[in-house]
């Protein structure tokens, strides 16, 4: 069933037990919505010496958006902002691939389970919701960290 390529086991696991989901209390906080379905995410972040040292998110959304946010958190926490952004670029490319890419597991780890999403154009923005919130927050955090130097 085509559906199973979308809803892989890994995704449902993250959906049922999302990582780093909690009450975002950090100073840098962003709120993103997906206006077409109403899904929302709030994400807070800390960057110290260019490294993402804290990330907590909360939100309502479908399994894809929840799992993707969970996977993203795992991937970027502890990494430098630059490294995280290059993962984001690779993930964005995968999402835009319309099923043509499988994704580099060394870089994307669990996120390659989301490769199937790229075949369902209406769901791509679900998968990207958390990542875009992260990007927005990281730029803010990075800027304010640099300013403090």
């Amino acid at each position: 069933m085509e559906l199973d390529s979308l809803y892989q086991e890994v995704i449902l696991d993250h959906y049922k037990n999302p990582h780093h989901k909690g009450l975002p209390t950090g100073e840098i906080q962003v709120h993103h919505v997906n206006p077409s379905c109403g899904d929302e995410i709030t994400l807070s972040l800390a960057v110290t010496n260019g490294i993402i040292t804290d990330l907590v998110w909360d939100g309502v959304g479908c399994s894809i958006s929840q799992a993707s946010s969970s996977i993203m958190s795992d991937l970027v926490l502890g990494k430098s902002v630059d490294a995280a952004f290059s993962i984001l670029d690779e993930f964005s490319a995968l999402m835009a691939s319309k099923g043509a890419m499988v994704g580099n597991e060394d870089v994307l780890e669990d996120a390659i389970a989301l490769a199937g999403v790229s075949k369902f154009p209406a769901r791509v923005k679900c998968a990207l919701l958390g990542w875009m919130a992260f990007k927005d927050a990281a730029i803010q955090a990075d800027t304010s960290w640099r300013r403090e130097q």
Binding site: M1, E2, L3, L6, Y7, E9, L12, S36, C37, G38, D39, V60, G61, C62, S63, I64, F120, R123, C126
Partner: protein, 416 residues
């Protein structure tokens, strides 16, 4: 409630059903609340306009221009006949959204006979689609007018217990939906219309979900304005209708300015033509107006009363079936009373998007999310719903596939 449509014959008139969906499934289209499919006669009416009559209306004295004008004016009088109103009262817009915005701009213009100012009140309801909400929010912001609204109740009806404090002497405009596009409920507008008129306010009906599905007679309802979209009524995309009482339209300022809506123009000044031209600046959506007229004719040939009754029969079967699926909760009206063929539901613990995705694998097209009625969704305490909406081309087996796919969606996520 006895009528049964010849759905097989009707389906055959809609070419889209000739294709199969994912994995050779037949199309079970249950998203007519968002947009309807088009019968061949509509698609061909639009094409034929281009084949035989294409020219700018009312702007040339050659044969094609005559034909174009005749087709366009004919479409206008067909729409007027459909609603039982005068031809000069029908304004072709691009959508119901534009129709409602035209009204909000007119009432915000101090040169309009009827307009709102600081402290004046505009009354809506919590059932409204964004298209019948945000234009009024913006009007209020521009003018200093105040927005008030009737609350929605859990069964999809409006709470009118406080009607006399909601509609007061300060009220100038009341704009309410004829049927909720989320819940299918038909609010009790009669007392609201009376209350509005008692204080001299005008009543605007958002008839997007009613005009395509049941007989609607603006004059009998005693309303002042009505808006609906062509694409939900078998018509082409890119065309909507605004109906207004002649004497009111003639006192109103237009939203769009340009060619064909003028009486006279100098470099610094212009005066307007009478309605409906005043509100139709530019070369109009001629082919789409002609297509819409063909769509309304199709609806008339089946009969709006018959369509409404048939949709209720489909709704009954769907409500009964959904109620038997554990973990499914139907939102809004639970019975056939005061409702149309739209059903919203949620499955415990599942997100509507995921539900819709599984249903898609069965060839079932439903809409998921907030349905452009976000305040209502919040009020219902959910993050979104899955919505099935019926139309004249749906049959009982469509309902069966709906039920099957809902069960499958629940099980798909439960089992794993």
């Amino acid at each position: 409630m006895k009528s049964v449509l010849d759905v097989a014959a009707i389906k055959a008139d809609f070419p889209i059903f000739e294709q199969s969906m994912r994995g050779a499934k037949r199309l079970v289209f249950l998203d007519s609340g968002a947009t309807s499919q088009k019968p061949r006669s509509v698609i061909e009416a639009e094409s034929n306009f281009y084949y035989t009559s294409n020219a700018a209306v009312h702007r040339g004295s050659y044969l094609l221009a005559e034909r174009a004008s005749e087709a366009f004016d004919g479409a206008r009088s067909d729409v007027a006949d459909f609603l039982g109103v005068g031809s000069d009262e029908i304004i072709f817009t691009k959508s119901a959204t534009e129709s409602l915005n035209i009204l909000a701009y007119a009432f915000g213009n101090p040169r309009s006979a009827h307009h709102v100012g600081p402290g004046d009140e505009i009354v809506l309801s919590e059932l409204e689609h964004h298209a019948n909400l945000i234009p009024w929010q913006e009007l209020a912001k521009r003018t200093g007018a105040v927005l008030k609204w009737f609350s929605a109740r859990e069964d999809g009806s409006l709470d009118l217990s406080n009607i006399s404090s909601v509609i007061t002497e300060k009220c100038k405009i009341v704009a309410i939906t004829h049927q909720s596009n989320v819940l299918g409920s038909i609010p009790n507008i009669a007392p609201i219309i009376s209350a509005a008129h008692a204080v001299g306010a005008l009543f605007v009906l958002d008839a997007c979900q009613s005009v395509p599905h049941m007989p609607v007679a603006p004059r009998d309802l005693g309303i002042d304005f009505l808006a609906f979209s062509g694409h939900k009524a078998l018509g082409p995309t890119g065309v909507g209708v605004l109906w207004g009482k002649s004497d009111l339209l003639d006192g109103m300022q237009p939203m769009l300015f340009g060619g064909s809506m003028i009486e006279s123009v100098t470099m610094t000044d212009a005066t307007w033509a009478d309605a409906p031209k005043r509100f139709e600046a530019g070369v109009p959506n001629m082919a789409q107006a002609v297509g819409l007229a063909a769509g309304l004719k199709y609806l008339q040939s089946v009969g709006l009363e018959n369509i409404h009754n048939w949709e209720l029969q489909l709704t009954k079967r769907a409500l009964d079936g959904l109620r038997e699926i554990a973990d499914v909760k139907i939102l809004g009206p639970q019975t056939l009373e005061d409702r149309g063929g739209v059903i919203s539901f949620v499955i415990d613990g599942l997100h509507p998007h995921d539900v819709g995705q599984v249903m898609d694998q069965f060839g079932v097209a439903v809409r998921t999310g907030h349905h452009c009625a976000w305040p209502l969704i919040r009020k219902l305490g959910v993050s979104g719903t899955t919505r099935a909406s019926f139309y004249l081309y749906n049959d009982m087996s469509d309902v069966d596939v709906l039920l099957e796919s809902v069960t499958a969606a629940r099980d798909y996520f439960r089992k794993r």
